[in-house]
């Protein structure tokens, strides 16, 4: 697309100075999703900043995430194993989503639906692994109001941040399935299938958030 960034910074003033639409070629739904994601960025950032604050101010030792989140494999603890698998799972789902968007714009409805469903599947797997992780941690004694290893905010932040992210993933899975179903029924046949890109934006955002959670919660 020649309308791309290559067109230069001068387009900023043209676009913002024009009538009818400011974001040229961006459908209403896509504009709305972008703005929503911007707002959601503020929500997740505020969660992460709160986590940073209570962690730095904590006078009790902060439990070591890489030990807490280790799985025993072949008799030896492997740090963050499950988290790594979850990360790869989410990236996989992002890839399938990107393909779905691509096929959507090629008007290859069947393939688009197939890849959306694959994305939803990987998302559901992610939620399942998260449920497993929560169960394991709770049974090991990590509760939102305390744990055995140190600052009680560790558990509180963990459950809150991953829980909020997990809710986004779950909502995303439902959203994906609804879109796939409506696509199948032909609801969007008169449009350009931009709905696939819109749901894709949401899904990639969920993956994006995980990148930050992984770095700041599990690796710090």
């Amino acid at each position: 697309m020649a309308q791309a960034a290559a067109a230069g910074h001068a387009t900023i003033f043209e676009d913002w100075g024009s009538d009818v639409t400011t974001f040229k070629g961006v459908p209403w739904g896509k504009a709305m999703m972008w703005i929503f994601l911007l707002s959601d960025t503020f929500i997740f950032s505020c969660f992460l900043i709160s986590y940073m604050t209570v962690r730095i101010t904590a006078a009790e030792p902060w439990p070591n995430a890489s030990e807490v989140f280790s799985l025993t494999m072949f008799g030896a603890p492997v740090p963050l194993l499950l988290i790594a698998i979850m990360t790869f799972d989410l990236i996989t789902s992002s890839g399938t989503m990107a393909l779905a968007v691509n096929y959507g714009y090629r008007r290859d409805k069947k393939k688009a639906i197939r890849f959306i469903c694959a994305t939803a599947f990987f998302g559901a797997v992610f939620v399942g692994m998260q449920a497993f992780e929560w169960t394991k941690l709770i049974s090991e004694g990590v509760k939102p109001w305390g744990n055995e290893w140190g600052a009680e905010q560790f558990g509180a932040c963990f459950f809150m941040i991953t829980g909020f992210h997990g809710m986004h993933v779950s909502a995303g899975v439902i959203y994906l399935l609804i879109v796939a179903w409506r696509l199948h029924k032909g609801v969007y046949d008169k449009t350009n299938y931009e709905i696939v890109e819109i749901v894709g934006l949401y899904w990639h955002f969920v993956d994006l958030v995980w990148v930050f959670i992984f770095a700041f919660f599990y690796l710090w």
């Binding site: 974001f23 929503f36 209570v54 509180a156």
Partner: protein, 580 residues
């Protein structure tokens, strides 16, 4: 290209109502939703008004009504503040004015997603219901002050620390969901659904104010949402985000908390709270600019500066939040940073004031009721804005913070001022909404009592603050020979309370006027104020669903072509082409 894109909007599917329910209750028409928002906000605002009268009774005449116990007093303080800021001002200025004006002023058929818009109102209604439910839960509503500072908000030394605070936070979270749905619609409509010729720099300032405020809302409410979630967790399941180790003689179970940070809540709250001030102020700025221009029959002075001032105020509002926390025990060096940013924001704000007054210069002022309210707004806002310089200048804030000076300041600047604009706006647009004029005599009576009364209430209050009378005191009786509450101050408080009762009662005139004029008002015609902006150019008054006839209007000029030299009429509407 414009021609290529506009059919996208003209072909917009409109869900025309099929029954009473879809016409008035589950309507997808932005104009109906605006009225729904407005009525709900005003109804809940009356509760806030009652709460304030209870407070004034106790402050002016301590013990006169025994029913007002300290618990009830603090609950009234809290509910008054929260309802006014969130459920009345934010909801009215954005939900009602925003919904009504954006599509009409931009020449759009409706909001871009009418269904989401409709849901937005009903979620807002739900948040109001949850809020009102807090009056009936065990322990009553929260009495933590509208800032809801932990730890006290969730410890038993505060009224409503169990159910009251939970319903309050829940209601806020629901409100934020409602606002987000509405706000996404407003922004997308403004950016992507204007009519031909409507560039951003031709938009009326009302839309600019609402636009900037909505952007602020979408970026600031997340901080409140996050703190509400964390405080609910602290209260319900015993996490310690905001709760440090505590030794409370009232609540032994509080000793289960440890390591949290009360300052974190305050930072998050004001990271939301300060933009919130501008969420209320910017739409008011915009609307009042339009009112002044229309009724002074003169273009708004310095339109481009006005727009940039709105934008800069919006941007800066995100880096000034901690001026609410100068004496909150935050990092002492923050004072330098925040005092500087805060006083910088005074410059664009002052420019707006200059431009309003300069619009009056060599104008042709018609003293209609909306204009009266607009002028009263400017002088009230000048007082409120200038006292803001006291509180923003960090060291000056030290003796004045948490005294009646603060109460007087924020009531002037974000209580009375925006409400005067809301009144002005309603008197101005009521003819468009209903097709009838509001009664002028009742309107003027309402104006004079409100304008004079509020000044009498809040101007002297600053001086109580200088004396050192702290705010949020159930009663002020000094323990000994204390200078902070001389007998004369008690007299002053009685006078203020009496003025408050009169102003409170006068609002019934307004409600009366709204109702009676709906049936009995003089028919308004299409454009009673002879205004230029697009909302007065609809084919029908009140506008029908879909607003326009088969084609959308085309805009040729800005919204302020009043008294253009060489023209016969003293106003040229936006969709009139330039002469060849």
């Amino acid at each position: 290209m414009a021609q290529a894109e506009i059919p996208y909007q003209e072909a917009m599917p409109l869900h025309h109502p099929h029954s009473w329910v879809t016409k008035y209750w589950f309507s997808q028409d932005h104009k109906v939703i605006a009225v729904q928002y407005g009525i709900t906000a005003m109804a809940v605002g009356l509760i806030a008004l009652l709460a304030s009268l209870l407070m004034r009774t106790q402050i002016g005449f301590p013990g006169a009504i025994e029913w007002i116990t300290p618990d009830r007093y603090y609950q009234a303080v809290t509910m008054h503040g929260m309802i006014m800021v969130i459920y009345l001002l934010t909801a009215f200025l954005l939900g009602s004015f925003g919904n009504y004006l954006i599509p009409l002023m931009l020449g759009a058929r409706d909001m871009v997603f009418p269904f989401v818009n409709m849901i937005s109102y009903h979620v807002y209604l739900l948040s109001v219901v949850i809020l009102l439910a807090s009056f009936f839960v065990p322990g009553g509503p929260t009495g933590a002050g509208w800032t809801l500072y932990p730890p006290q908000a969730i410890l038993t030394g505060t009224p409503g620390a169990d159910w009251g605070i939970i319903t309050m936070l829940l209601s806020l979270a629901v409100f934020i969901v409602a606002f987000t749905m509405g706000g996404l619609n407003y922004i997308t409509t403004i950016l992507q659904a204007r009519t031909r010729g409507m560039t951003l720099m031709r938009m009326p300032l009302s839309v600019w104010g609402i636009f900037a405020a909505t952007v602020l809302g979408l970026l600031a409410f997340p901080a409140l949402f996050v703190s509400a979630v964390m405080m609910i967790l602290d209260q319900v399941i015993g996490t310690s985000f905001f709760m440090p180790a505590i030794a409370s003689s009232f609540e032994p179970s509080a000793s289960e908390y440890s390591g949290g940070s009360p300052l974190l809540f305050q930072h998050l709250f004001w990271f939301f709270g300060h933009p919130e001030v501008y969420i209320v102020a910017l739409p008011a700025f915009g609307v009042v600019s339009d009112l002044i221009s229309v009724h002074a029959r003169k273009n708004i002075f310095g339109y481009r500066m006005m727009v940039w001032a709105i934008v800069w105020i919006g941007v800066l509002s995100f880096v000034v939040w901690a001026h609410h926390m100068y004496v909150a025990g935050m990092h002492p060096y923050f004072g330098f940073f925040f005092a500087t940013t805060t006083l910088i924001i005074a410059v664009p704000t002052a420019i707006k004031v200059y431009n309003w007054t300069l619009t009056l210069w060599r104008a042709n002022i018609r003293f209609t009721v909306p204009m009266l309210f607009a002028i009263a707004f400017v002088i009230t806002f000048v007082v409120g804005g200038l006292t803001g310089l006291f509180l923003g200048n960090v060291i000056v804030d030290v003796p004045l913070s948490d005294t009646y000076f603060v109460v007087a300041h924020f009531h002037m600047v974000m209580g009375v001022s925006p409400i005067l604009v809301i009144f002005g706006g309603i008197y101005h647009w009521y003819p468009k909404i209903t097709g009838r004029m509001l009664n002028d005599t009742v309107g003027k009576l309402h104006f004079w009592i409100t304008a004079v009364g509020t000044y009498v209430i809040y101007f002297p209050m600053h001086y109580l603050g200088f004396v050192g009378v702290p705010r949020r005191y159930y009663h002020n009786e000094p323990l000994g020979e204390s200078a902070f509450y001389p007998a004369s101050a008690e007299l002053l408080n009685q006078g203020i309370s009496i003025a408050a009762f009169i102003v409170g009662a006068a609002q019934l005139l307004f409600v009366y006027n709204l109702f009676v004029s709906y049936w009995r008002g003089r028919p308004a015609g299409d454009n009673p104020w002879e205004a230029c902006s697009l909302e007065w150019r609809t084919p029908q008054t009140p506008p029908i669903h879909g607003n326009w006839s088969d084609t959308l209007p085309t805009v040729h000029r800005w919204a302020y072509d009043y008294s253009v030299p060489g023209e016969k009429e003293d106003f040229i509407p936006q969709d009139v082409p330039h002469r060849a």
